[in-house]
Amino acid sequence: MTVMEQRGAYRPTPPPAWQPRTDPAPLLPDAEPYRVLGTDAAQKADPGLLRRLYAELVRGRRYNTQATALTKQGRLAVYPSSTGQEACEVAAAFALEERDWLFPSYRDTLAAVARGLDPVSALTLLRGDWHTGYDPREARIAPLSTPLATQLPHAVGLAHAARLKGDDVVALAMVGDGGTSEGDFHEALNFAAVWQAPVVFLVQNNGFAISVPLAKQTAAPSLAHKAVGYGMPGRLVDGNDAAAMHEVLSEAVARARAGGGPTLVEAVTYRMEAHTNADDATRYRPDAEVTAWRDHDPILLLERELTERGLLDDDLKRQAGDDAEAMAADLRGRMNQDPQLDPMDLFTHVYAEQTSQLREQAAQLRAELEVASEEAEEEAR
């Protein structure tokens, strides 16, 4: 008897409650990323939606270039640009209803802005004046998360809590390809599937985690394949195709809202800029690769489709351009004002009530500030 046969003989009977959830076949992603633009499916897309997406992409691109420019002027400490990934960012925002929640990572300021958040508030983390520039409950946008993938379990917990309260709220959580290797990614997906929580996980596979390419991050056929093991569907989408992204994310959101549980969406896209302004992308990728992706630019793809269908008139183009410029000018103007910070605020929001330790330290800082201001006055005299 072979070892395998012996094993077979000893295989324990699974307990009666144990039932595999579903046939994995419907959970498996397509072999190729799903596309709408440039295919027959595009004929079905709502022209109004395509035009709105276009305007938002143009605005998003301008936001990215403006924020990047602000790092060069020293107004932002750092900016992880989502240039090239605008279709993912915008579609994520558009797929959600007002009552839903967005859980962004540090790269996803644009998704927050496309959701309607004030562009300046969205940048406070990166500017350095405060960690979060908005009330997450009002905006229904969690703080931009810097530790990778740690925001994913939060999305699951929030969606779960909302469902317990009887609210049909969906949470959409964003993470990069590198973030999928973190334990929190695994734990969040598993919790979501076991609890059938109304969550959509959006992985933006932009090719690199700083300098490390996807091939060194995972051996899976695709990141969308990871969904199957948890018992949720995985969808592979062209992340530069705004219409496809919008369709797939909206479907996943609707499924979650209807009680169908979580979905993992992998958007195949490309990071056109360096990781941040502090990174030198030429050390790990050839320029030719970047150039090749320019032909697959999300704005270009949508522009081609709109032009072909006669939907891109001069009005739309001008309007989108003007809106983008106005946003950029406003952002520039307000970011160029020095934020007024009160150092005493350091102690205000550590605990609901200040501890005696913090009260002592606050008194120390207040005294130091008084001395400093007296000295400054004296110097001025």
Binding site: T132, D135, P147, T150, P153, H154, D184, A352, S356, Q357
Partner: protein, 342 residues
């Protein structure tokens, strides 16, 4: 901070209760009073937790209020963060001290600082219950005292009860707190008993107050959690040597009750800090420094520490050598230069 008021009861029925029962009762009463309180963790449902603290909660409140989670500590605490974002009050059970480490990232990067980074908009009323400490013959990873890690993280409260009544009162106060609390349960005291009346719950002071468990004139033992009964025993034994020791039970490590501690040390002029966790970089160093800063002119001797050795927690057969016991405490007391007193 909420004070759980003692309800007037006509006939208080006190009977022996264990610390584990008092903790369970605190969870139950909190859940009954506030529907936003949810308990989650590994095996907290049908089993009632490996220490039976959550016994009966799923039966009484349903699986939605007391939930068996997948086996994933970061996931447990991470989902609790999201639940708190949506207005719930999660009480998370970590099965054993060393198994809370996978959740450190969530605790430190999110739970502790969410209020601060959102400028007060998003408090985290999460209680993380962690059975901690040794003395129960646990195998590796079942006896750690990690309080120094928690204490070093701004934004967390760190509390630990030493009595049955405090177990109830402090846990109620922790769950009611709008800030995250790491609630350290001395597992060696789970089965300690005291006469306690669950129908007339103990009045609870706000988190952050130490209590003098025993008054004395010769020196102060400053301690908390599992070391409190040891210090009480040491104080009894010290009487034979003519030493009259005061024992301060901190109950809360963050915030720290400087007033009670300093008042005691000023009275006695001598202090020994006692705890199980390692001395180097441990809580005792912080406490000794605070005492020195506040009571230098009242001190008759340097503040001493009696702590666990600076080693990974030893195997059960050797743990008695590691844990601070009565003799080691008395030795320290003897080193406080007693000649000076007479």
């Amino acid at each position: 901070m909420t004070t759980v008021a003692a309800k007037p009861v006509t006939k208080p029925v006190t009977k022996p209760a264990t610390m584990a029962q008092a903790l369970g009762r605190a969870l139950r009463d909190s859940m009954a009073e506030d529907p936003s309180v949810h308990v989650l963790g590994e095996d907290v449902g049908a089993l009632g937790g490996v220490f039976r603290v959550t016994d009966g909660l799923t039966k009484e409140f349903g699986e939605e209020r007391c939930t068996d989670t997948p086996l994933a500590e970061a996931g447990i605490l991470g989902t609790a963060v999201g639940m708190a974002m949506y207005g719930l009050r999660p009480v998370v059970e970590m099965q054993f001290d060393a198994f809370a480490y996978p959740a450190f990232e969530q605790l430190i990067s999110h739970v502790a600082r969410m209020r601060n980074r959102t400028r007060g908009a998003m408090p985290m009323p999460i209680t993380v219950r962690v059975p901690y400490g040794g003395g129960i013959g646990g195998v590796e990873h079942h006896s750690d005292s990690s309080e120094a890690y928690y204490m070093a993280t701004p934004g967390l409260h760190v509390v630990t009860p030493a009595t049955v009544a405090d177990a109830y009162g402090l846990l109620r106060a922790s769950i009611a707190s709008d800030d995250p609390v790491v609630f350290l349960e001395p597992k060696r005291l789970y089965w300690s008993k005291a006469d306690w009346n669950p129908a007339a719950p103990t009045a609870v002071e706000p988190i952050g107050r130490a209590v003098v468990r025993r008054t004395g004139r010769s020196a102060t033992l400053i301690t908390y959690g599992p070391s409190v009964p040891v210090c009480m025993e040491a104080a009894e034994a010290a009487r034979a040597e003519g030493w009259d020791l005061e024992v301060v039970d901190l109950r809360s490590l963050v915030p720290f009750d400087d007033e009670t501690v300093a008042a005691s040390v000023r009275r006695t002029g001598r202090a020994v800090v006692v705890h199980e966790s390692g001395g180097f970089g441990g809580p005792g160093g912080e406490i000794a420094a605070r005492i020195t800063e506040r009571c230098f002119h009242h001190l008759e001797a340097p503040v001493l520490r009696v702590a666990g050795f600076d080693i990974p927690y030893p195997p059960p057969m050797l743990e008695k050598h590691h844990l601070p016991g009565v003799d080691r405490i008395l030795d320290a007391v003897a080193r406080l230069q007693w000649e000076a007193e007479s």
